[in-house]
């Protein structure tokens, strides 16, 4: 498997503290003053030229947020966050939103080049002509608070697919945004989601019309650049009846000594017979080997299988962030709908991961599947938290959960917290969990065959996560494999 070799090569070229994406970009930015109050919320709304209903919606969220308290039930520890000491809006300084890529600051384009994200359609198209089999990916890139470029718009429009910054969708497709925004994650859902509702600045919007199979993968790359800036993006994806879309999300951030806050909300809606596949490779900066710096990642992701026979599948590879608080979930509302959650969560150094999923079975004959692979190394703590529940009307609900933890070394921890609740006696929920350790004997066996300790660890870990990696689109799987090796660096020896 070439990818393993690549992983191995990658590991060799890196030092322990070498987070690959840790550069910053010198771009003049347009910022709102520090702190949070109604004026800031209005400022953001005005920056985006939002209609009044949305400004009010934000203000309502802000007022609610002020009455709420940060959740404390997760197994993560961090000093109190001073929400008044953050910037809530930062945009690269171009007078208006860029109309074409030529108007985008070349410095910004170079940033994305460094990240390996192709934004220039022409180049991608040129690549496509050279290799007709190469898969194309339409990209929306979000830099701090704004979306800077969306590629392949024209071609997607031909298929009737809308893929644009959500700030643009508010203007061009207000009826869709109004109908679906906050319909899966209500404004008051939780502290971080409510904060996001008040101050979200941009994100991606996708609408796939009835019966349309989206002609290419859609992808958003999120990048936090500015110091002391929170990133609050908002993603809304609607798959209308009988449609299909696969969406990829990638994240990186510069290496900074202070912690940065990221509180995103993602809402997915699948109508009758529609399918959404949502994949994430989260590689926010995890902090250095001493636990200094890194992103606080408090994310609310939820999919609503609103239609009968609809399907939503979450696949996530979580390697970054100092703290991860994230539970991509499915509401299985439609009869015979299906939810899936495939997760690889890796923690090293002093990272803390509290992640998992919720599968809420509301409709009859709904089914769900959860495969979680947690890998803990260094001094990290890795918790899987999962909730599976069947409503009274959820006849014949089915869930299968498999939750495996792998420990590397003696200073880390793995925890599994399942909540299972069935209010319908015909529900069948299966839960399997294992905890294992990479044994010295396994490592020695591999090393006797010529692999270094790092290569051996990468190989064993890749074996451990194999069934989840197989769920990722090909390009992402390769990237994920590399990431896994990089994140585990310094965990052996």
């Amino acid at each position: 498997m070439a990818a393993v070799q690549e992983t191995v090569d990658k590991v060799k070229t890196l030092d322990v503290d070498a987070y690959k994406y840790g550069f910053t970009t010198d771009i003049e930015s347009d910022k709102a003053p520090k702190g949070l109050n109604e004026d800031i919320v209005r400022f953001i709304s005005a920056k985006k030229n939002e209609p009044e209903w949305l400004t009010d919606w934000r203000l309502d969220a802000f007022r609610r947020w002020q009455t709420m308290a940060e959740p404390k039930w997760a197994r993560v520890h961090y000093p109190p966050i001073d929400y008044q000491d953050l910037y809530y809006y930062s945009a690269p300084k171009t007078a208006e939103g860029p109309k074409s890529l030529d108007e985008v600051d070349p410095e910004l384009l170079r940033t994305y080049e460094k990240l390996g994200i192709p934004l220039r359609e022409q180049e991608i198209l040129a690549g496509v002509q050279a290799d007709p089999n190469a898969r194309r990916v339409a990209v929306d890139a979000v830099f701090d608070s704004v979306s800077v470029a969306t590629t392949f718009k024209a071609e997607l429009a031909k298929a009737g697919v809308i893929f644009c910054p959500i700030s643009e969708a508010v203007r061009t497709h207000p009826e869709l945004v109004k109908k679906y925004l906050g319909s899966v994650v209500p404004v008051t859902d939780n502290y971080f989601a409510t904060l996001n509702s008040a101050v979200y600045s941009d994100g991606s919007f996708v609408y796939v019309p009835p019966g349309v199979r989206c002609p290419m993968e859609l992808s958003t790359y999120f990048r936090i650049n500015e110091r002391n800036t929170g990133q609050f993006e908002r993603t809304l994806i609607i798959a209308d009846k009988g449609s299909y879309v696969s969406y990829l999300e990638g994240c990186t951030a510069p290496q900074r000594d202070e912690n940065q806050l990221h509180a995103a909300v993602v809402e997915l809606i699948a109508l009758d017979d529609a399918e959404i596949k949502y994949s994430t490779v989260q590689n926010w900066y995890p902090g250095d080997s001493q636990g200094k710096g890194g992103i606080y990642n408090f994310v609310t992701k939820r999919g609503d299988c609103r239609g009968d026979r609809s399907k939503i599948s979450w696949t996530q590879v979580e390697t970054g962030s100092a703290i991860t608080w994230k539970y991509p979930s499915c509401i299985l509302r439609g009869d015979s709908s299906r939810g899936e959650f495939y997760s690889i969560a890796i923690s090293n150094g002093y990272q803390q991961v509290d992640s998992g999923t919720k599968m809420l079975h509301l409709g009859a004959n709904t089914s769900s599947r959860v495969i979680s692979k947690g890998i803990s190394a260094g001094h990290s703590q890795n918790t899987y938290r999962g909730q599976i529940s069947a409503h009274r009307k959820a006849r014949n609900a089915r869930n299968f959960t498999n939750c495996d933890s792998l420990l590397i070394g003696n200073s880390c921890g793995a925890h599994t917290v399942p909540y299972i609740e069935a209010k319908n006696s015909s529900a069948v929920f299966e839960h399997e969990a294992t905890t294992s350790k990479i044994s010295d004997d396994q490592l020695f066996y591999c090393m006797q065959r010529g692999l270094s300790a790092e290569e051996a660890t990468a190989l064993i870990v890749n074996g451990f996560v194999r069934d989840v990696l197989q769920q990722l689109p090909m390009e992402f799987a390769v990237e994920a494999q590399k990431l896994i090796a990089i994140s585990l660096e310094g965990s052996v020896g």
Partner: protein
């Protein structure tokens, strides 16, 4: 050539090898026999560089290179291969992936090009066929759920593919049925060559009926207490280790 001189080794504070010396020349097949717990596996691990063994005295050289400071991977790249008495399982990693990673890691360490996938596949298939290993076993995770005999066959396959300069076979015969023993022994015999030395650890003459050794050494309480030709193994078969127990005591 493997040269071990006056080797003293302890594990967890317990002395296991106690001044062991042994030389195996290029092209030589040496057999080691000895009672349970005499330190045979320990010897093989120490030569392969397994951590947590404290070498307080003595030296191990492969083709004149002192192995003391070499990592297990470096020793492997120098051409050392160990058939494990208890091969390890690696869930999720297919045997093919594992073999390819191992071969290419060693080639790279030696400054050679990686093997192209088609060449590699061909090589593996042919070697597997010679050892009666079904192809679908190669798609299964390394040793995972394999029977004892299957694991041993897989060890021999790995040795055949890695073409080591020196092979240590720790009880390759345990767990093998009569036919598999013959097939594996033939596999080992095919690897005998003027350049390659082999150290065969076994309890039974029946393995040495297939793989005729040039020399036989008796190990007891962490040292070699007697050396001779193939006839020594036959003697042991009859009289056991009782004589040596007295001598060593």
């Amino acid at each position: 050539m493997l040269e071990i001189e006056n080797l003293h080794v302890s594990v967890a504070g317990k002395k296991i090898l106690d001044g062991l010396s042994l030389k195996v020349a290029d092209g030589e097949v040496a057999a080691i026999m000895g009672p349970n717990g005499s330190g045979k596996s320990t010897l093989s691990y120490v030569v392969a560089g397994r951590p947590d063994y404290e070498v307080s005295e003595g030296s191990i050289k492969l083709d004149g290179v002192d192995l003391a400071e070499k990592s297990p991977a470096e020793r492997a790249a120098l051409g050392l291969f160990l058939v494990f008495q208890y091969p390890l399982e690696i869930p999720g990693v297919t045997t093919m992936t594992f073999l390819k990673a191992a071969i290419n890691a060693q080639r790279k360490a030696r400054g050679e090009d990686e093997l192209a996938t088609p060449d590699f596949m061909k090589k593996v298939r042919e070697a597997a066929k010679r050892l009666n290993i079904p192809q679908d076993m190669l798609k299964r995770p390394v040793n995972f759920g394999f029977s004892g005999g299957e694991k041993k066959r897989m060890e021999i396959l790995q040795m055949a593919l890695l073409e080591p300069k020196f092979g240590i076979l720790d009880e390759m015969d345990s767990g093998l049925d009569i036919d598999a023993l013959r097939v594996c022994a033939e596999g080992v015999n095919a690897l005998r060559s003027k350049e390659r030395g082999l150290l065969v650890i076994t309890h039974y003459q029946r393995l040495l009926d297939y793989i005729t050794p040039d020399t036989v050494h008796v190990m007891h309480k962490g040292r070699i207490v007697k050396s001779g030709g193939p006839e020594l193994a036959l003697e042991l078969e009859k009289s056991g280790y009782a004589d040596y127990a007295e001598e060593a005591a």
